[in-house]
């Protein structure tokens, strides 16, 4: 039987995080934790980040904010004011987890750092997310998503050699830092459950992203070879460009597809694609026994060596063949749509994937058959919005979007009066003083 609460029910989180940590709070909240977004009066800065609902730049309409703040409650609180600090200490005394993304030392300066708060709440788990961590020679440097992906080593690998390296779409530094933070918090929570001892969880965006270098770090460490961005294909030391046929992004009738065809052990071989082309009269001679013999020589080691591009004699033997074959494949791919290539390719065991647009993703038959998207009501907007569902499915204690993202200070009265025990007059006075 499926429980009606998430696995983290009963965990209380104070979320002071800006964009780098907002997704961490969302992960905890969608897993059932009681996550209270602590916003400065006027609202979290992320509420001013586009895109906006119907392009109306209103702080209650930022889709960017919506994406990272489902299932949370919201209070406003000015922690730079004395009354605000006092209130925050009261909240922190009852919290299990705090997440913040201020520069190192900022919360300590307000008397609200981990060392100060743990005196009253030794079980507290305090998570700091910054560009470069809390200590070290560059701890105080400025960072954003772009700076973090650049400094991590992952950006160096993305894009075309003749262009600047590419930033991955969508604040991936913030997603990765949040995912790492959430992992650290949960391990700390298990430790606390066992020992009663809380602790500081420290996340550097630069470190949180490092694994995304794939093998670049090890190639340098073990072989002193530098992986670089290669765009669509590879360049020989002679400057000649080539692509191993079947490996890469191809234009099709209605967009692009990604082909991963011909790597032994990864789906059907290149010959299967050629057979398909031949069935439709588009193999242009590639279905001959001579060409099949050529394709059969393309084993893993050979492809790896060609892609490394260091063996010039091997390359001069193979590249002219590739340059003959690849345009024939291109011509075939161009006659078919993304979905035909995907569905029929898969039927034949070929690893072909559509390069999906956001619209394609929303219309994806697999995601919809599994009811992945969740319709969330936004009464203030007079509509519902479809959100991506949680990244995982827990059989017993579900993760889900439990409620829409909160309005600014929506839960002030509920939390300050009903849960913290302030009187209505006190809450009113704090509002008048600009504290909440």
């Amino acid at each position: 039987m499926v429980a009606e609460e998430g696995p983290l029910s009963g965990v209380r989180v104070l979320d002071l995080a800006g964009p780098p940590g907002a997704y961490c709070g969302k992960l905890l909240a969608d897993l059932g934790a009681d996550v209270i977004k602590v916003e400065p009066p006027g609202g979290d800065a992320a509420r001013r980040i586009p895109p906006f609902f119907h392009d109306d730049p209103h702080p209650e309409k930022s889709l960017y904010f919506f994406a990272f703040n489902t299932s949370k409650r919201s209070i406003t609180l000015d922690i730079t004011k004395a009354d605000g600090r006092a209130l925050f200490r009261r909240l922190a005394a009852k919290a299990d987890v705090i997440i913040e993304t201020f520069p190192p030392g900022y919360m300590d300066g307000l008397g609200l750092g981990y060392e100060a708060l743990k005196v009253e709440n030794p079980g507290l788990i305090y998570c700091s997310i910054t560009g470069f961590g809390l200590w070290g020679p560059r701890a105080h440097w400025q960072a954003s998503d772009l700076i973090a992906v650049a400094m991590s080593g992952m950006m160096y690998l993305a894009g075309f050699p003749e262009d600047p390296p590419n930033r991955p779409y969508g604040d991936q530094a913030y997603y990765c830092a949040s995912i790492q933070s959430c992992t650290g918090i949960l391990i700390a929570l298990l430790h606390r459950d066992r020992t009663g001892e809380g602790q500081l969880v420290e996340v550097s965006m630069q470190e949180a992203l490092s694994m995304n270098q794939e093998t670049a770090m090890q190639f340098w460490d073990m072989r002193k070879e530098l992986r670089t961005r290669t765009g669509e294909g590879r360049k020989l030391p002679t400057g000649e460009w080539f692509r191993v046929p079947g490996l890469g992004t191809y234009q099709c009738a209605d967009g692009y597809v990604y082909l991963m065809v011909g790597i032994p052990g990864f789906g059907a071989p290149l010959a299967t694609l050629i057979d398909w082309m031949a069935e439709e009269g588009m193999a242009e001679g590639l279905a001959s026994p001579e060409w099949k013999e050529v394709f059969s020589q393309l084993d893993l080691r050979l492809i790896a060596q060609l892609l490394q591009g260091t063996d010039v004699s091997m390359a001069t033997q193979w590249v002219p063949k590739f340059q003959y074959v690849d345009p024939i494949i291109e011509r075939f791919i161009r006659t078919k749509t993304k979905n035909v290539l995907y569905e029929e390719g898969q039927r034949r065991g070929l690893l072909i994937a559509p390069v999906n647009t956001p619209k394609d993703v929303v219309e994806n038959p697999q995601l919809n058959a599994r009811s992945f998207f969740q319709e969330i009501e936004h009464p203030h907007l007079g509509t519902t919005i479809r959100y991506p569902g949680p990244p995982y499915r827990l059989g017993l204690t579900p993760a889900r979007i439990w409620r829409r993202p909160p309005l600014i200070g929506e839960h002030n009265l509920q939390i300050y009066r009903d849960e913290l025990g302030l009187s209505s007059e006190q809450v009113g006075a704090l509002a008048a003083a600009g504290v909440i």
């Binding site: 590419n166 959430c182 969880v201 647009t357 995982y392």
Partner: protein
């Protein structure tokens, strides 16, 4: 830090994962004290064991891939031939002694071995079973084959990343394999572990890699579902920052990233650069800078291209401007003084690969620090140990199973 104080000490994981997203997920558990036992076989080798890079000066073996080793530190390896009845029995016995069982095979593989969830529940009623299929255990594309490389285009990430005049080639890596998907899997597992500790109940967790990955393009999804807008590639630009990009510097393929979000940072930038064009009226406001972004980018690059990337970064940071070198692997591993001071990369001695670098933990727990402390296991290195210490087999039984080819 005594290892017996690590938070996941006492948790055992029967690890049937392979390739990227699965092993990295279980490695995080191993970093923090869980005993993670990779169930491998000679006949069904993890493809990463034979993947590059390997040391230059040694003949290749199945134990020295840097790709594999970086994802499997702190683990044990047993080799069981799952094609045999006895092998499958042994695997079930291991699961019965585990807290967590993890796998990312094509749906149906475990069932074929008689290790489906229902069967596992019979031997271990409070098991947490984590499955990481590509597309899910149900649905019309359930059986579609795939690897991380196809998840990037499927999720929308490829379409949205890169310059608009280029085809959407993706991020140069199988991006979601390394932090996004293993991270989501470990989060769900830890949450389930907490629930089990409190209630005694385990559960089945499914992390469909496509669903996990679509979460990291959520803003573009909402822009489509709420506004009907299909976002397009914008290169390195952001609608709410300017300048925002990577600029060529002196030397071969050297670049510095600069990200300016407000007037204060812009003023710092102008002071640092000190060129006349920074004072031009058309660049004085954000809207002005945005309207002349192409020209501004050209001027910035004319300035950066005469300087070293590191020098530009230091100068701009000294003026409070977010700036950073687009670092290569050589930079992060050998040159970055900050990563070095923090000891992020760890060097471990491996019997075949030698002394090599491993990624440290992606987060730091100050009271219970974890991370790679033992190199990745050789294939089958711990078969005897696990059979004896975990499964309680005698030396004779182990020898028989070896002779029969059940243990490899």
């Amino acid at each position: 830090m005594a290892e017996d104080r690590l938070p996941l000490k006492g948790i055992r994981v029967a690890d049937f994962t392979w390739f990227g997203a699965g092993p990295i997920f279980t490695q995080i558990l191993a970093h923090y004290g869980a005993q993670v036992i990779r169930v491998e076989s000679q006949t069904r080798l993890d493809g990463l064991r034979i993947a590059m890079p390997m040391p230059k000066d040694k003949p290749p073996t199945v134990n020295m891939s840097g790709y594999f080793n970086n994802f499997n530190a702190n683990k044990l390896s047993v080799t069981i031939n799952m094609g045999t009845e006895k092998g499958r029995e042994l695997a079930l016995r291991l699961i019965a002694k585990s807290d967590i069982v993890a796998e990312n095979y094509t749906p149906g593989t475990l069932e074929k071995w008689g290790l489906g969830y229902e069967r596992i529940l019979q031997v271990k009623p409070d098991i947490i079973m984590v499955r990481e299929p590509m597309q899910g255990l149900t649905g019309p594309h359930r059986d579609f084959a795939g690897f991380g490389a196809v998840i990037t285009p499927l999720s929308g990430l490829s379409y949205l990343s890169g310059f608009p005049h280029r085809p959407p080639v993706g991020l140069g890596t199988n991006y979601t394999d390394y932090v996004v998907n293993p991270g989501h899997a470990v989060i769900a597992t830890l949450a389930a572990l907490r629930h089990r500790n409190r209630t005694g109940k385990g559960q089945l967790i499914e992390v469909a890699q496509l669903e996990s990955s679509v979460n990291v393009v959520s803003v573009a999804i909402l822009d489509y579902t709420a506004n009907g807008r299909v976002q397009e590639r914008q290169g390195n630009r952001l609608p709410y920052a300017c300048p925002h990009g990577a600029y060529r510097c002196q030397g071969e393929d050297r670049w510095v990233a600069i990200a300016i979000f407000n007037d204060q940072q812009w003023e710092g930038f102008c002071r640092a650069v000190g060129e006349e064009w920074t004072q031009e009226e058309r660049f004085a406001t954000f809207l002005g800078r945005k309207a002349h972004e192409d020209e501004l980018d050209r001027l910035i690059e004319s300035w950066t291209s005469q300087r070293e990337a590191g020098e530009v970064m230091e100068l701009l940071q000294a003026h409070g401007v977010p700036a950073g070198v687009v670092q290569s692997a050589a930079d992060v591993l050998d040159c970055d003084p900050h990563l070095k001071a923090r000891g992020y990369y760890r060097y471990l001695d491996h019997p075949e690969a030698g002394r090599t670098a491993y990624d440290g933990s992606g987060f730091r727990l100050h009271s219970t620090p974890g991370g790679p402390t033992a190199p990745a296991p050789l294939l089958g290195q711990h078969t005897e140990y696990v059979c004896k210490e975990v499964l309680g087999l005698t030396d004779d039984e182990i020898a028989d199973l070896m002779a029969e080819g059940v243990l490899q």
